[in-house]
Amino acid sequence: MTGPSGRRARVVVLDYGSGNLRSAERALARVGADVTVSDDLDAALAADGLVVPGVGAYAACMAGLDRVGAAPVVRERVAAGRPVLGICVGMQVLYELGDEHGVRTAGLGVLAGEVRRLAAPILPHMGWNTVRPPAESVLFAGLPADTRFYFVHSYAAKADLDAGDTVGEHGEPFAAAVERGALAATQFHPEKSGDAGAHLLTNWLATLS
């Protein structure tokens, strides 16, 4: 995907020790991004788009972000209106607080609200599910209403749903995606969601300048 300047959008996938980064890298490259997996903060700051991935425990992800010193970079990009895409726990850490098994961990706080355990008979919420995006959504533009994305999580932001948030449901409604200007995030894994995920990532790349 080429931006207005005629070059491919430069995307940094933030490497802070969390999980499977290869999939995110490959899925973004597949849709035309110039992708680097890096813990270099200057690169993360300068990129057209920054992807914050994340799997596992909230506290471990925050510790990883702190270890590489990435928290100020994410906050600075959000404050400056520069594109950031959080994925899964990379979305959850954007909120103010995560509560897992009674362990309360401060998040980056660029989204208002808390991440808590879903009230559902079977957890993790694992597999392909539909979502309800708002009519004005950019990420979901062009995707049919019954499109399914791959989720694997037990926690989510539930109580602080904004009218513009994309709602998912497993036991109870939760934020499946948020789009606040240049800040975007998905609770599901677009990089593991086949063609539907590729479509969404293409939509996101198109917002990068």
Binding site: R26, Y150, S154, E169
Partner: protein
């Protein structure tokens, strides 16, 4: 809005090649796991499972390479199991591109491994694979955990075992009936029901699929996902047909 029941083909990999019942006509190389993974993805598989049945540890590098190459080309979740002995093994598979790792015998030998792995990597990526059979000993449990591909009984009650590994941090149970495995007579529905009643994590039904009519009852018994190997490899059933059959009975599928 409800999560779709997953249809999962399982590929047995030995020394870098898919073995056991590969009979695709539209593959250039029927034994290449990466190419088979791509084909299943194109057919609508919701996840893929690689079972590494390699005996020699020297061939493990080959497995990591396959996982790497698959993750580069296939954009659906990949579970890899077989021969996983330690948290470091799990780490290497995850770093190679696996999304979830299946642990079987090593968990039976040392249950604390489940806790260690769940703590280090998150429970969402720890799948405990249980090979269970109906217990031949009337004094024993109804379903018994086996190891070594079903050849060795342990005397451990399979239902209680699944409950225990979930407490230790397992994020999913891959429940394989050693009695039904290979028979194509259908899943062991009683075993699925018994485990479903005990655990609150997703349960993957495995062993016995042979007919389109076999899948919906497994879901009815409580399975969140249905896994099959030979019926897919031999081209006897296609992923799309299984999904259509499930959809016809009102089961949500992708």
């Amino acid at each position: 809005m409800s999560v779709a029941v997953r249809v999962i083909p399982c590929l047995d990999v030995d020394g870098g090649r898919v073995v056991k019942g590969v009979n695709f006509t539209d593959l250039r190389d029927a034994g290449d796991p990466v190419e088979m993974a791509r084909l299943y993805d194109a057919e609508g598989a919701d996840e893929l499972t690689f079972l590494d049945i390699t005996a020699s540890s020297g061939d493990r590098e080959t497995t990591y390479d396959i996982v790497r190459r698959t993750a580069e080309q296939v954009f659906i979740p990949l579970t890899v199991g077989g021969g996983v002995r330690s948290a470091d093994d799990v780490n290497r598979l995850l770093r190679a591109g696996a999304d979830k790792v299946g642990i079987n015998t090593a968990a039976v030998a040392r249950p604390e491994l489940v806790r260690e792995c769940a703590h280090r990597f998150g429970n969402q990526c720890i799948v405990i694979s249980v090979d269970a059979r109906r217990c031949p000993d009337p004094a024993g449990p109804r379903f018994e955990v086996t190891t070594h591909g079903g050849r060795r009984g342990t005397g451990i009650d399979a239902v209680g075992w699944t409950s225990r590994v979930v407490e230790l941090g397992a994020g999913e149970i891959l429940l394989n009936s050693m009695d039904a495995d290979g028979t194509r007579d259908g899943y062991d529905l009683e075993m699925i029901s018994a485990v479903r009643a005990e655990v609150d994590v997703p349960v993957i039904a495995s062993g016995g699929a042979g007919d389109l009519a076999h899948f919906a009852p497994a879901v009815g018994a409580g399975a969140d996902a249905v896994l099959a190997a030979s019926v897919f490899h031999f081209g006897q059933l296609r992923i799309g047909e299984v999904k259509a059959a499930l959809r016809d009975t009102g089961v949500p599928v992708r």
